[in-house]
Amino acid sequence: MEIVFLQLAIVFYLLSTGAFFWPLMSPRPLARSLAPGLLCGAFVAHAGAIAVRSLSAGHIAVVESYEAVSFFGCLLAGVCLLVQLRAPVAILGAVVSPLCVVMATGAFVFSTQSRDLPPSLHSVWLPIHVTLAFLGNAVFGVAFSASLVYLLQERQLKSKKGRLSFRRLPSLETLDALNYRVLAWGFALLTLGILTGAVWAEYVWGTFWVWEPRPTLSLVTWVMYALLLHYRTAGWRGRRAAALTIACFIVLVGSFLGVKLIFPGRHGGAFG
């Protein structure tokens, strides 16, 4: 059942990728709601797959690395859809959809039996902490997408080679304003994620903070985004802000994967 949902999600992600890229390639427009509709279908199927797996495992399915990747992809799609409701930035789907294809496919390929959690981690804090932290990351993912599109549009305008298709991208001001707003949201969510983690750690391990790779890198990420937000508020904007947003997100993804694969601590996969 879970596999069927995941396959369905992958197919929809692929279709929505095509639909989001279509206006960049062809002068003939598609129905405006087609691409977001496909992405929405993918999101529902993907969420269904995660729900089925979580129910059968008895806890939220974000314990294995690939589970976490899959969960992140699903949230990214969801946040991207939410943002599209608020601003004319459908083009973000052209960045998010292919990322989701990769993440959902990864989950599909590396899928294994779910492992039992140590009893110490069975807690209502698990879904709260994990969802907030991942939601924050997904929001940063959208900021990253907006920045990528910003740089693309900016280069088109600077180099003056703007073909017709690129003139349909959202305006720089729209992308820059979106980037700023989204960063603030992501930062708030990440902060809550870290705080709930600390509270939970106090319950489980009797201390608010353990200096382990995962939480430490979260803190590094948090400081990085705090600095980025600070500079944005101080008046940084445009290309520099976009480039920094991209750099921050790359560090975030890198540290996430690095921790999962290289230094698993008590936090996360190895449950020491």
């Binding site: 549009q153 305008l157 600077k158 003056k160 703007g162 017709l164 003139r167 991208l169 305006s171 720089l172 001001e173 729209t174 304003a177 008046g235 940084w236 904007r237 445009g238 290309r239 520099r240």
Partner: protein, 430 residues
């Protein structure tokens, strides 16, 4: 062609041949136009004449039996009427004779010779110049016809090619680009530097797309006030341009000047003042108003007129086809006008009619002037001019009639010719 007794001569300078310093010194304002035209048309060397003077060009068209003498006369006239030494402008002057003169006038009127090809204002400007020359009686059959033909050619070019769409699309390309940079235009400010035609058109286009505020600055203050009034803008004195620059999100430059008005150091400073909010510079000036290196500054976007043309150049072949189409319309119309002129020229009846009229005119003028010996030379000229105008006007209908009948085949032509000859007594001894 050299044996013809009527030829056309066009002399002038435009934005390509002459820098603005020369153009502005030679340009005729309305008050200067009348005495210049009276001087130009002496009914001997120059039988008919017209002056077209805009900020981008001065063109003098003359109908003359002797283009060389007329050329000399025009050059002297320019030097004396505008108080400019000949060596200063002579190298920038171009001379077109015969068909080429006609072709040049047609190209100018059709806006093919404009700085921004296809801009619509030039037709109105030529029409105004025609009206002035016409009211002063400086035009005769030939130039009347020539100008009317040029208006219909301009109309044909406008309706049969997409040349005219180009000027509009330059300002709309600028607006499109502004929309790629800015989300809303209604909270943005545009500053237009220089009240040139394209700048005006672009700022009006921005305005119809909802730009919030318009600032206008120009070296000639009155012109800035005029444009500001038209687009509900605020005037900024030209020397305070830099102080107000930080207010502008879109800066349109259309100043005719050499050297850059804005350089990177200045704009960098302005950007700091604006907290690096993006600025869009649209450089419509030729030569360019803004240093091209502005584009290298972060959050600054600079497009000059060539860049804008490239943006709209979606289909190069189509543009070339349009240009070829326009040029071939003009070539066709020049031929048709020239055929008319030649037929007029070779028709012996018309020559005879003209000669008869000219003989009478000269005789009568001499008689009249002889009785008023102490008339000042100006008044003498006026009498000359008036008599010539009278003759020209009187002869216009019969000559037009002859032309018309000439186009209807042999029978009626012969009839028409003999009628005219009889009415005017051309076969009797004068």
């Amino acid at each position: 062609m050299d044996s013809r007794t009527t030829n056309l001569l066009l002399m002038g300078l435009n934005h390509r041949s002459a820098p603005v310093e020369v153009r502005e010194r030679l340009a005729f304002d309305e008050d200067a136009l009348e005495p210049a035209l009276r001087r130009l048309v002496d009914h001997m060397v120059v039988r008919e004449g017209a002056i077209v003077s805009t900020c981008n060009r001065v063109e003098i068209l003359a109908c003359t039996p002797d283009p060389q003498a007329a050329g000399e006369k025009i050059t002297t006239l320019l030097a004396e009427a505008r108080h400019v030494a000949r060596p200063l402008f002579e190298p920038h002057l171009y001379t077109r004779v015969g068909k080429e003169a006609v072709s040049h006038l047609f190209r100018v009127t059709s806006s093919l010779d404009s700085m921004v090809v296809g801009e619509p204002q030039i037709l109105g400007q030529v029409k105004d110049a025609y009206a002035v020359s016409s009211t002063l009686g400086a035009l005769g059959v030939i130039l009347h016809r020539c100008f009317h033909k040029s208006f219909s050619v301009a109309k044909r070019v406008r309706s049969e090619t997409r040349i005219a769409a180009k000027a509009v699309s330059i300002s709309s390309a600028a607006v499109d680009l502004a929309r790629s940079i800015f989300d809303h235009l209604d909270d943005k400010t545009a500053m237009v530097i220089g009240a040139g035609e394209m700048g005006e058109q672009t700022v009006k286009h921005l305005q119809s797309n909802g730009i919030g505020t318009v600032l206008v600055t120009n070296r000639t203050f009155a012109r800035a006030v005029e444009l500001a009034r038209q687009c509900n803008g605020t005037v900024v004195p030209f020397d305070q341009l830099h102080r107000h620059l930080h207010l502008a999100d879109v800066v349109v430059g259309s100043v005719g000047m050499n050297g850059y008005l804005l350089v990177p150091a200045v704009v960098d400073e302005v950007l700091r003042e604006r907290k690096r909010r993006p600025m869009f510079f649209i450089d419509l000036g030729v030569p360019r108003n803004f240093d091209p290196r502005l584009n290298d500054i972060e959050n600054v976007f600079l497009y000059d007129i060539d860049d804008l043309e490239k943006v709209i150049e979606d289909n190069k072949d189509e543009r070339e086809r349009e240009a070829i189409k326009a040029e071939s319309i003009i070539a066709e119309e020049v031929e048709s006008f020239w055929a008319w002129l030649s037929s007029m020229e070779v028709t012996p009846t018309i020559i005879a009619l003209r000669d008869r009229a000219e003989t009478i005119r000269q005789k009568e003028v001499e008689k009249a002037l002889a009785s008023m010996k102490d008339l000042p030379p100006q008044a003498r000229q006026a009498v000359e001019a008036m008599s010539a105008a009278l003759m020209n006007k009187l002869l216009h209908p019969p000559i037009a009639y002859l032309k018309a009948s000439g186009r209807h085949g042999a029978g009626p032509e012969a009839e028409g010719v003999s009628t005219v000859r009889r009415i005017f007594g051309l076969d009797e001894d004068a």
